[in-house]
């Protein structure tokens, strides 16, 4: 990662565009060098998902309604058992999940929690709400070491 950035930066300063194309070749043929603005916009897309996921995870009724999901009918929200996503262990998925007695993904587990403890309505695997919840949980656990399969 560091190497190509340094390279193209040096080339930009030192050489005309032709030389750059010849020397770096395919690396820049597919896309322009990333700019802080671009990175920022990607990050914004991500953080907006994190924010929505955070709200869903904490039982925000308005967000649930806006996204057309019913994640709980007991008054319970994910964060009531998992403050700051503690004990969700996203880094251990996929794994054999005892409660479901099957090999499961984080999404399976999210749906299990929605249906069982929360008594809410299961959401589609590729739904916006699922992606947002997943984004929040992973973001919240940034830096946790991957340990797939761990009980």
């Amino acid at each position: 990662m560091t190497a190509p950035i340094t390279w193209s930066f040096t080339l930009f300063r030192a050489a005309p565009a032709v030389a750059l194309a010849v020397l770096v070749g395919p690396a820049v043929a597919h896309k322009d060098p990333v700019t802080p603005q671009l990175l920022n916009s990607y990050q914004q897309v991500f953080m907006e998902q994190v924010r929505k996921g955070d709200l869903l995870f904490h039982g925000d009724a308005a967000t649930e309604e806006a996204m057309g999901v019913v994640l709980s009918k007991t008054g319970m929200a994910c964060a009531m058992c998992h403050p700051m996503t503690a004990d969700t262990h996203p880094a251990t998925f996929p794994k054999f999940q005892a409660q479901m007695a099957k090999f499961a993904t984080l999404r399976d587990m999210i749906n299990w929690c929605i249906e069982k403890p929360n008594q809410g309505e299961k959401i589609a695997d590729d739904s916006e709400a699922m992606k947002a919840l997943e984004a929040y949980i992973y973001w919240s656990q940034s830096g946790t070491v991957l340990n797939p399969g761990k009980f």
Partner: protein
């Protein structure tokens, strides 16, 4: 070094000085046994609840005048009946079991968070359910009881939030650690419901470090203890733990240093607290501290700060709402011992192997963002 780490170093420096411990005559033993009452009638109960609990005890030597026992229930977090019957069911069960204690407990201490959102309806439901218990009942408030109407209804139902009484040679003190939260609502023109909502979110960023004893109550505590022999037992009930475990979830009181100053001269202090919804044991200076189970749901252990002296509770089955929760019996017997006995429904209380302990899988956690309203 983070602020939290700095605080922890300070705790160690202030409290864990060499040689300073609770009275050495108070030796702690832990034992696990199958309680007689579980063997009797196990077949019928097993059919209904698959009940095969192992009760666990912490024994604390004490000098009581006569043997007695009392019971602890807390953190029932009642919603209106129509919304959540599970919490109601479990509160009913705890109440029935306390009432069935034989010989009966001398009194029940309710350790706060009776309601979930502080509603009149919720608090009254709690009173109604606890009517099942006809021994003396004393109450301290939890944050969930307080911040809808700032303790108005709670006060009408239960009176003064802090109190003291002597019972068979033990001085009991109830503290209010919840009502002195910093005002985060006025500047933001929050409705009572919004105020309560932030307070009811354990990992929220808005309510801040609300748990505290307060200078006025510390003075009251000092006065209350001033005529008590420093070598006689004191039991202090508080909703929050009286030491620093994990401030972001208010698993502490912010003025724990001052509390320690007041309690320092007393050699037999036991603090029994709720709020953390988990098995906890700690010794801070000359005080020992025992965390109680909720009846409603268990909180996970915090990512850091779990006291080294805590034998962790077992990982809970989230599919079983009777797991990881319960109440407690505290026994003061003729052999001068106080036993705090966790009555956890279902499984064993303590982790049996590292795999049983959720914290054996490392997690790096960050605070939530969606509720940020302050400009820092």
């Amino acid at each position: 070094m983070s602020e939290l780490e700095r605080d922890r170093h300070e705790i160690a420096a202030v409290l864990q000085q060499p040689g300073v411990r609770p009275d050495p005559s108070l030796r702690i033993t832990r034992r696990t046994f199958v309680h007689k009452s579980c063997l009797v009638g196990a077949a019928t109960v097993a059919e209904t609840f698959a009940w095969w609990p192992l009760l666990n005890t912490l024994d604390v030597a004490y000098a009581a005048e006569a043997p007695f026992k009392f019971a602890w229930i807390s953190d029932t977090h009642l919603y209106p009946k129509s919304l959540n019957t599970r919490f109601v069911e479990k509160t009913v069960r705890a109440a029935k079991e306390v009432q069935a204690m034989s010989p009966p407990a001398d009194f029940l201490i309710f350790g706060g968070d009776l309601a979930q959102l502080g509603k009149v309806e919720e608090l009254e439901l709690g009173v109604e359910i606890l009517k099942e218990i006809n021994i003396r009942k004393v109450f301290i408030p939890g944050e969930h009881d307080w911040y809808l109407d700032m303790g108005k209804k709670w006060g009408e139902l239960f009176g003064q939030p802090n109190w003291t009484f002597d019972h068979k040679g033990v001085r009991f003190v109830g503290l209010d650690t919840v009502s002195r939260g910093p005002d985060y609502w006025t500047a933001k023109k929050m409705s009572p419901e919004e105020r309560m909502g932030h307070m009811a979110t354990l990992d929220g960023t808005v309510a801040g470090p609300w748990a505290g004893v307060g200078r006025d109550q510390l003075d009251w505590l000092q006065k209350t203890l001033s005529n008590w022999d420093q070598n006689r037992p004191v039991v202090i009930f508080s909703h929050n733990p009286l030491y620093e475990y994990y401030p972001p979830w208010n698993f502490w009181v912010r003025d724990w240093r001052e509390v320690n100053e007041v309690l320092k001269p007393y050699t037999k202090v036991t603090n029994i607290h709720g709020h953390t919804h988990q098995v906890l044991y700690n010794e801070i200076g000359t005080m020992r501290s025992i965390g109680m189970l909720a009846t409603s749901w268990p909180w996970p252990y915090a990512p850091e700060g779990v006291p080294k002296l805590t034998k962790p509770m077992i990982r809970v089955d989230p599919g079983d709402h009777f797991d990881g929760v319960g109440w407690a019996k505290i026994d003061v017997n003729a052999q001068d011992k106080v036993e705090a006995e966790y009555v956890m429904w279902r499984k064993q209380v303590f982790a049996q192997s590292p795999d049983d302990y959720a914290k054996s899988i490392p997690e790096v956690l960050r605070a939530r963002i969606a509720d940020n309203i302050w400009p820092y």
